[in-house]
């Protein structure tokens, strides 16, 4: 167990290192830099001297390894630098954006997990017309571009019916009811695809498990369908599904960009877009670092639940 933990830690560190270095290199390779972006924004034109001066001010004139070392050094001292544009600390900026993003992502996971798994089970059990229907609905869910769906939902539920707010995010601590109401439309938007994805995968996993010999034997021993399906089959089908939920979480992490944009949710996706478009290196690094940490932690959680669910892996 200890060895496993050390291995996980080491591979996580390697991943973090690789991602942050790659990010540095890519940002450096990108045409244009923060100095230009700032100068363009502030005065609409600049002399080469102004540009050089701005680069010095931002520390962009140093070599890449040196810049990276500085960044790393700061990180080890608990700081991720400051936003090049408004001087806000990156840690603080990201901190304020984790809540909204996580709310949307976790709510989507819960909704799509519950609905998707339920649909998947039902369609695996019934097959036939219903199975086909779930197939088609699933595909439909995956096929509808989510920005399109978002616009339609806003028009319908916010503008026409005034049932939910069209935009914005209320922190849970401020007003739990508003928090929930604000999440409904964004989560619906994201869940359409996610439910479809999970339903399909659960259906496949479930069909796979249900066709296994032990299921027949469980029935032969007289167990109720309920126990066979909900206890035994589901427990076994959960193994691949948990992996998929992990994957879904990782993809939702970036996939919230459009939804955050349309629903004006101050999340990480938005921050990622903004930062990368303005070459705001500390912020980009911060986002990349945070995303990678989330991915690493997600993988850990998936791995642990995998072990809990699958005695074979647990033993070895």
């Amino acid at each position: 167990m200890v060895r496993e933990a050390i291995r996980w830690l080491l591979s996580s560190l390697v991943l973090l290192f690789v991602v942050t270095v790659l990010t540095f290199v890519l940002v450096a390779m990108a045409p244009g830099d923060a100095a230009k972006a700032i100068l363009n924004a502030r005065s609409g034109g600049y002399t080469p001297q102004q540009y050089q001066e701005m680069r010095r001010m931002l520390g962009l004139d140093q070599s890449l390894p040196v810049q990276y070392w500085h960044w790393l050094d700061h990180l080890l001292h608990g700081s991720m630098g400051t936003d090049l544009f408004n001087g806000q600390s990156v840690t603080q900026a990201l901190g304020s954006r984790i809540g909204p993003s996580l709310s949307v992502i976790v709510a989507t996971l819960v909704v799509s997990g519950l609905v998707g798994v339920a649909l998947g089970i039902v369609s695996a059990l019934r097959g036939g017309v219903l199975g086909r229907l779930v197939d088609v609905v699933s595909l439909g869910g995956l096929a509808i571009p989510n920005f399109w769906l978002a616009l339609v939902l806003v028009e319908l539920f916010a503008v026409r019916l005034a049932a939910f707010p069209a935009t914005g995010y209320t922190p849970f601590g401020t007003d739990p009811v508003q928090w929930l109401r604000g999440l409904v439309l964004p989560v619906l938007t994201l869940s359409a695809g996610a439910v479809a994805f999970i339903a399909k995968q659960t259906r496949d996993a479930m069909s796979d498990v249900l066709s296994q010999e032990f299921v027949t034997m469980l029935r032969a021993r007289g167990l109720s369908t309920r126990s066979v399906v909900l206890k035994h089959a589901l427990r076994n089908a959960a193994i691949p599904v948990v992996t998929l939920l992990g994957l879904l979480l990782v993809s939702l992490l970036g996939g919230t960009v459009v939804v955050e944009d349309i629903f004006a949710i101050p999340g990480l996706g938005q921050q990622a877009m903004t930062a990368s478009a303005s070459h705001d290196l500390p912020m980009i690094e911060g986002v990349a670092f945070l995303f990678t940490v989330v991915v690493v932690v997600t993988n850990l959680v998936v791995d642990v639940s995998y072990r809990l669910l699958n005695p074979k892996v647990r033993a070895s």
Binding site: V136, Q201, S207, A220, R221, N236, L244, L247, L252
Partner: protein
Amino acid sequence: MTAIITSPETVQETGPAAPAPGRPWRGLLRQPLGLLSAGYLLLLVVVAAAGTLLTPRDPEADDLAHTLSGPSGAHWLGTDRLGRDVFSRLMVGSRPTLLGVAEAVLVFVVLGVALGMVAGFAGGRTDRLIARLGDLVLAVPGIIALLMVLAVFPDNNAAAMIAFGLISSPSLLRVVRAVTMAVRNELYVKAARLSGLSTPAILRRHILPRLAGPVIVQVSLFAASAVLAETALSFLGLATPETQGPSWGNMVGEAASVISVDPWLLVPTGGMLVVTVLALGLLGDTVHDLTVGRARGSAVRPVRRPRPAVRTAVAVAAADVAAAVADGAPTEQGAAAPLLSVRGLTIAFPSPEGEVTVVRGVGFDVARGECVGIVGESGCGKTVTARSLVGLLPGGGRVVAGSVAFDGRDLADPAGREVARLRGSRIGLISQEPMSGLDPSFRVGSQLAEVVRRHHRLTRRQSRARALELLALVELPDPASVARSHPHELSGGMAQRVSIALALAGEPDLLIADEPTTALDVTVQAEILNLLRSLRVRTGMAVVLVTHDWGVLADLCERAVVMYAGEVVEQAPVSDLYHAPRHPYTLALLAANPHLAAVGQELPAIPGTVPPPSAWPAGCHFQPRCGYATEECGAGAIPLVTVAGGHQARCIHVDRLEAAR
């Protein structure tokens, strides 16, 4: 973009179980939706390739007097902000979109297949290295990677799509690796390697063809997500600007920008996307169904009651068959009503060509406490027959005619309620593969206790105690430790003992043992047989034993039913069968039995193989392999006739057989 889900993995942990049927394409033709999708996609490619050749109007010609006109005779899908024809622009716009998708798919396939095959084939360190690399790429948040790539190559659609293909490829890699590994380990491939076939040749000849199905599935799903990614990027203003000509993405973007003025524009543009993604998805699904196969008819699904009309038709047809085979009922039997009585049992399975009958007109009886064996080669319908007795036919199979009476109740009732009540409590089942018959996720003790509680009103504690008793009953040396184990920690013999314990938990009157020793070592086989024999003595239960081993049969059973190609060809007390077989097939089986062959004598195998149900010959099923066959044998159905007391055979040349002896 829907969370760009970069891994449309359908084949997760397991590779495809069965080899793909030869040509999925022919199957495709039978799937209207799949065919429609393929046709649509083909049309799309033609349209994209033709460019302006096919467009009804010049896609670039503007008409400032008629902007955002909505659909009309002149403009089927309306006009855009500059009065350009939306229909023509959608046609032309398919090119950059498809091109982007093609780029992504190319990278996806090349990387996924090449690395996956290498990893799966080479195994060992190479495999681990590639797997690590794949995990690493999968761990990179996709959107960040795309943003970075677009920052380095601004407005460059190709770069973005290539990157998208790259970061998605590990999912294909995994699938290809799994399939390659599975194929590599198959006997014929091993043989090919041993015979010196070079690695590239093996990859080309044996592995690539098997990859086609799963790869096509993955590619169509990936292509669908690539279409969405391409358009989402354009929509976000990150790639394919409108001034470079129309693309689906920038058209949706444009439509979205005028949504408050003219929502119509979202319909054709968004619709095009939805239809295309749907087509790709359906194509993938269809190919998936045709190649990998979907365990559609799962064991748990309640048997659906066939619609009356159909049922009647089938029943009538079955009745004809039953009549033709003279009911197959044993003519004489002890005075006491038998425990189990099977009559005219006919079982069919669904197939793409319609239902196929695999067991026809089977009948036999089992008295209380009696042990009856069912023998025959594999593929003769023994297992199907045994499973039908507990109402657990796999793969959508169903009893289309006949009856199964157990202690006076009809178990062949299509709703299956009766048999469901008896399963476990009065009829037990043990299977061929003891290990795969146990739920891998639960401890033995808990599985056993659950079954005990199901059949007896006991507290949790009592049922745990009873579970330990049962484990002791099947002569497991350390019941407590076995109860704490997970199935994978057991040996095959232990697992089979656990299975038996599970079957005994409800104290059944009838135990159906489906080749209970086949998968075990010879010494373990003997132990299990001893156990079964002693349990019979102790519990007095009847046993139906499916086997292809004469030794086992002789050891345990009083009577035997010989099955060939879905039919009972002979049944008799075991000793009669041994000493005076009345059917050429039984004779051949006995001759091929290792237990009976004299030492040093060459084992005569029965030439030929059991024909699949679709290829059953007219008349006697055994005719192509029968040394006694004459023309008459193929003339019509052969009846089962009583040749001696309690001895029946399905052969018109019984007398010749006797003469030969």
